[in-house]
Symmetry: C3
Subunit: 217 residues, 3 copies
Amino acid sequence: MTFGSFEYIMELVATAFYAISGVRLAAAKKFDWFGAYVIGFITAFGGGTVRDVLLGVDAFWMDDVNYVIATVIGLAIVIIFRKWLVRIEGTFYIFDAFGLGLFVDVGIYKTLMMGHPMWMAIMMGTVTGAMGGVLRDIFINEVPLVFRKEVYATACIMGGIVYWAVGLIDPHPIVPQMCCAVFVVVLRFLAVKYNWSFPALHYSYSGEDDETKKDKS
Amino acid sequence: MTFGSFEYIMELVATAFYAISGVRLAAAKKFDWFGAYVIGFITAFGGGTVRDVLLGVDAFWMDDVNYVIATVIGLAIVIIFRKWLVRIEGTFYIFDAFGLGLFVDVGIYKTLMMGHPMWMAIMMGTVTGAMGGVLRDIFINEVPLVFRKEVYATACIMGGIVYWAVGLIDPHPIVPQMCCAVFVVVLRFLAVKYNWSFPALHYSYSGEDDETKKDKS
Amino acid sequence: MTFGSFEYIMELVATAFYAISGVRLAAAKKFDWFGAYVIGFITAFGGGTVRDVLLGVDAFWMDDVNYVIATVIGLAIVIIFRKWLVRIEGTFYIFDAFGLGLFVDVGIYKTLMMGHPMWMAIMMGTVTGAMGGVLRDIFINEVPLVFRKEVYATACIMGGIVYWAVGLIDPHPIVPQMCCAVFVVVLRFLAVKYNWSFPALHYSYSGEDDETKKDKS
């Protein structure tokens, strides 16, 4: 399932960071602490679970209580270090970026190991990294941030392309993994720092569907 | 799939009650009757389906038309007994509580039968009981009630702990099942009666993500 | 997976149309172009993917890059022919109807081929045709249109009944498929033209759940 004990520990750390991100956003929406925990759980496990369901294997956290413990630690950190977390809010994306880089790596590697082509591995790496945040936003009833935010899911895709390109040169999995993770982290840092984002599509749409909606509501 | 004909009939009854709950909420949002039926369907089948997808087995209602008939009966009851249902609204949670207790039992038992550890069974019992309502609220575009409501998903978890504790003493599955279901039902009754709920987390969050959202929208 | 090269090509065309529908709605909500693409992707693949997960098989687009290319073409069409698409908006439902008829066919046929009963095939045909639009609306944080719109999911179900009835007379799959697809397309045309819709359920609901919500928020 995981590819070595170092990566396993890193994945647990990334799980805790994703859980913290979910708990914080849910708490800001006045969820009770249990609801906030569930949102943290979904943020941390959502991406990898969707990937594993699509790949037709057991979800990565099944039968391994350590992942659940990682999310509980995430909840505990929010409760205990609340004030400190609010203070470092502007730099929180740093932790998130490390989690993202690692989750993309895990998703790509796992999909390739199962014999799927590279384009599917890149897609699954993106799902692993970004879907948790998307599900989090759906559950707290927000438009998923990732679709309107600084380069985020695209960072996953570009990281996947780096993985593929480096893999052409050096077939040992550790080298493309390192390059991919570093690339994703650096790209996210730059994107947040310089507020990079894609242009909106500016499609002014006022057709059949919207009219219907107005009629009915 | 089910563990005896009594439980099978009870599960069908719980399915009908969950369907009624979904149809009522959707109808209150001015869905047409077909849309309301679909929401009832999702409420009744959502929890068990997510559980079965995660466990890697066919969804429990597949190839068994009785479950679908149970949801149709639920729809028919809302249409025919509309006025009576509005009158008993304050006591409707009683039916819901019985459905919840039974679904938690089914989820725990089925997960244990497949050889998973107890903590996963408790998690799957909670998913079985609570996820249908969560999906219902997502489909009607509300913040899931279960995250802000009187002790609900936590009732499932506590019921699961009762199941485990009683199972240590009496290994025959029927005894922990009875205790778990009764515990969940009683806890829900008390929670609604005395309006028990968890405190909110009070995390005032105004960081990176929200700012981004304001900039873009 | 698909049943012949003609149907395969038609399915790719339907995929592109669904993707266009998703991209247009997302762009109207000011998503950046990547976010809009993801929504197009979900609209095109959502229904078939949910069906395949429930059937316990690999999602139809896995390992077949042509489907992904079809969605990219959909995105390109929106970007390039934006003005033309806005002009034909009133008639866009025509393309959508053809996609719907075909997706229902594919869903029914595939489910029957796997040995499931007819009622499940009709349900899976409906999921294939309608779930993509439902997921699209959930991801852009709208109440799913399909539940309040002119006969849409019901068109899928009625088409499925036509498939079944014709299949009783002529067991060769191509005849019921043709009849089902034509029926769905014609029904959708008439429903949009004459603004057919189901009556709402008019269930004035002001019970436990809503009160709780008011208290907490």
